[in-house]
């Protein structure tokens, strides 16, 4: 089985190098075109699309804490056009030059405890910095895993897998539609990337590698990232805030799509009521679960935040997009965090 895939990949690789688009590297005409390309291979971001081999100048990267998306494995790539680079920002997203592409591929395996065995790609999302701002395009992989096709209206895909905690899962995995991409990536009237901020990237020398690769400019000394949320050797409060930052703050921020809730969850937010301490909900509806406050210090079971994280019901579940099951590990973390808060 694995051999077949390998041979197929070799075959395709040969096909590509014999004149396929991939061999030429990223194609700025396609990247900066007014609309999306019909298929992923058109961009030239991979030297071998089927084998997921990035083209030269396209760099893999990882976030310290990824957003939970139904246990999907995520493979991230960044491309910045030659001669340009992103400028460092201590708090916000780096300022990336026009022509930048952020690539995120979502993959599953029959058993996510061994995510590389029998892995298959489901979708690849592109965030492209066009001349007039960022654009988000979703691509869905074909069954043969040879190409991904532009799919603006989104899609539900049935996936069977086993979670890292050994639960058998029947997922109704949602590929977002193009507007839903914007819902999470909204920053005021614009859209922007979520992940590539210093606090999400600064680990294991990654930012130094970005500088060496010419992707990043102006990196100061000693930039520290957030702790890994499940590294119990780190302080609980910082871990929980890091988790909320990457899983919630893309909408729950002053210029995000949940701004009107007044519940703002970036790790940098300092006001108690803003992060939900004893805060009454505004428009929660049945999302309140009959509970009265977002976070009741010391009482996780009375906290709407945890209730909505645990739910899989549309209209209740948070985040609203991007998951059809809940994550026991995340629930345990937030439960512990609220439980450890001093009772008012």
């Amino acid at each position: 089985m694995k051999w077949q895939g390998f041979l197929a990949a070799l075959f395709l690789l040969a096909g590509c190098s014999a004149g396929g688009k991939g061999a030429r590297g990223p194609d700025l005409d396609v990247i900066l075109a007014a609309g999306p390309a019909p298929v992923l291979s058109d961009y030239g971001l991979f030297s071998d699309v089927a084998g997921a081999v990035p083209a030269q100048g396209v760099l893999p990267y990882e976030l310290i804490n990824p957003l939970f998306t139904d246990h999907a494995a995520k493979h991230r790539l960044v491309f910045v056009p030659k001669g340009a680079s992103a400028s460092f920002n201590a708090e916000d997203v780096f300022s990336f030059p026009v022509g930048t592409v952020l690539v995120k591929t979502f993959a599953f395996a029959p058993d996510m405890r061994v995510p590389d065995e029998g892995a298959y790609r489901v979708e690849t999302r592109l965030l492209i910095h066009k001349t007039e701002g960022w654009a988000a395009y979703p691509y869905v992989w074909n069954e043969d895993q040879t190409e991904a096709v532009y799919r603006p209206a989104g899609k539900r895909i049935d996936i069977e897998t086993v979670s890292p905690a050994a639960e058998t899962l029947q997922l109704r995995y949602a590929v977002p539609n193009q507007n839903q991409c914007k819902t999470c990536h909204q920053a005021g009237d614009a859209i922007e990337p979520i992940g590539p901020k210093a606090r999400h990237l600064a680990h294991e020398g990654q930012l130094t590698r970005w500088v060496e690769a010419g992707i990043l400019d102006g990196l100061p000394e000693g930039v520290a990232g957030e702790p890994y949320a499940f590294d119990v050797s780190q302080p609980l409060d910082a871990r929980a805030r890091a988790w909320l930052d990457i899983n919630c703050a893309h909408c729950h921020k002053a210029d995000g799509s949940a701004s009107n809730s007044g519940l703002w969850l970036p790790a940098t937010e300092q006001t108690g009521a803003r992060i939900g301490l004893l805060k009454h909900p505004v428009a929660a509806g049945r999302g309140s679960g009959g509970l009265k406050q977002v976070i009741v210090p010391g009482d996780p079971d009375a906290s709407i935040l945890l209730y909505r994280m645990a739910s899989t019901e549309p209209g209740v579940a948070m985040p609203e997009l991007g998951r059809s099951v809940s994550d026991p590990e995340s629930l345990a973390l937030i439960r512990e965090w609220i439980g450890a808060m001093e009772t008012p």
Binding site: A153, N179, T183, N260, R274, G285, R286, S288, E320
Partner: protein, 415 residues
């Protein structure tokens, strides 16, 4: 002089009401070039969502007649688009099998017109628009067909953080929070609509400059609410006029899930003004609201927002018709009414005029109703409530009626 002018105003508004009565008007036919409706064949949700994404500014997307089962939320993010069905009872987007998203349809672009379709049984809110200026909701029906139920979505029609909002000839039934909810917005008209069997019929919250008129609010828990809440990006709500509405029989049990502010609305209230400033309630017809026709109250929960004022100020009540009501007060009003013999007059004020350690405030609540219209203040003074401190009084507060805000003018109302 002023009485004659008011009588004239009332006569004119009765005529206006007759002309705009939601049950008798029909939407005008589409103007200009009309495109072909979307195909009803195949996966309609995907067809519609693709059309919403591909739309160009100025484009009209026409929905075919029929009932369409949708499994995911829809969204529109293109300015200047019209989304139009074959009629609010003819094109139905049915979300009974919804698997994701917080609402049925989300609009995040400006200058959008939604009309002539229905939205049914969404898991969360019905139609939401956020940061969408110059939006029109017209001849739409949003409902939960099982009737009042805690599991229904919160809001039927839900514009938030917007400027220039028009909601007209809309019908909303059985929302578990508010049928028509306008929040954190400015320059708003809600008119000629029918809201029934919701917890709140119409709610204007943390908003400025709203005209609410010609509506029928019946069989809700509370008819029309004007609130201001703390700890939100936009607060200091002010300048709302509520006039020429039928606010009757809002006696449905409160089915809002606990934790939501409307969960405390006593069943049987007509209009509630909570916190907020410069609210004018006139020429409405109140009848058979079993708790109270008008309830004036302060925000009673603890808050940390230093800019927030939890008291209602500069309120004017005048020239309303009050029928039977107040005969069976519910919720938090029940024990207070019990101490007064079990019934409440048309207009009820909690009598809270200060909070924390603060001094009493001049609230300027002007009750300019006919002398036979009943009024009571519970004289509660401050929160948290101490029942022993209750000092009921039928005396109307001394006040000078605040100047009425000018009529709301929308730049896009004729579109």
């Amino acid at each position: 002089m002023s009485i004659r002018l008011r009588a004239l105003g009332a006569a004119v508004s009765v005529l206006a009401f007759a002309a705009c009565s939601p049950s008798t008007t029909e939407p005008p036919p589409p103007a200009g070039e009309v495109p072909a409706p979307l195909s009803a064949e195949g996966d309609f949700g995907a067809t519609l969502q693709a059309a919403l994404i591909a739309a160009k500014p100025g484009e009209t997307i026409l929905l075919p007649e029929g009932v369409f089962q949708l499994t995911d939320g829809l969204s529109l993010d293109v300015d200047g688009v019209t989304l139009r069905g074959a009629g609010q009872e003819k094109t139905i987007l049915d979300f009974t099998g919804q698997e994701g998203a917080g609402e049925g349809l989300l609009v995040t672009s400006d200058d959008v017109l939604l009309m002539d379709f229905g939205v049914r049984n969404t898991k969360g809110d019905g139609i939401k628009s956020k940061g969408a200026d110059q939006i029109i909701y017209r001849y739409l029906t949003v409902e939960w067909t099982g009737g009042p139920d805690e599991a229904n979505g919160a809001y039927g029609v839900y514009p938030v953080e917007s400027k220039n909002v028009l909601v007209e000839n809309v019908t909303v039934r059985a929302a578990s929070d508010a049928g028509i909810y306008v929040g954190q917005s400015d320059n708003i008209i809600v008119r000629n609509s029918v809201v029934e069997y919701n917890v709140a019929g119409i709610e204007i919250e943390n908003s400025m400059n709203a005209d609410v008129y010609g509506n029928i609010a019946r069989n809700n828990t509370g008819g029309i609410l004007v609130f201001d809440l703390p700890d939100l990006p936009v607060s200091g709500g002010n300048s709302t006029r509520i006039f020429d509405n039928e606010i009757i029989e809002n006696n449905t049990r409160n089915f809002a899930p606990a934790g939501n502010i409307v969960a405390s609305v006593p069943s049987g209230t007509g209009v509630i003004v909570m916190a907020n400033r410069n609210v004018h309630v006139f020429d409405n017809n109140f009848d058979n609201n079993r708790s109270a026709h008008v309830l004036i109250m302060s925000y009673s929960e603890p808050f940390t927002d230093e800019t927030y004022n939890p008291l209602p100020r500069d309120l004017v009540l005048r020239d309303n018709d009050y029928g039977a009501g107040g005969d069976d007060p519910q919720g938090d009003l029940a024990p207070l009414a019990a101490a007064l013999g079990g019934q409440l007059p048309a207009i009820v004020w909690d009598g809270v005029d200060r909070w924390g350690e603060g001094e009493p405030q001049a609230m300027n609540i002007a009750v300019e109703e006919a002398s036979e219209v009943g009024f009571i203040s519970f004289g509660l003074g401050r929160y948290p409530i101490d029942p022993a401190a209750m000092a009921p009084s039928p005396e109307r507060p001394v006040a000078v009626a605040a100047a009425e805000p000018a009529a709301v003018v929308l730049p896009h109302g004729d579109r």
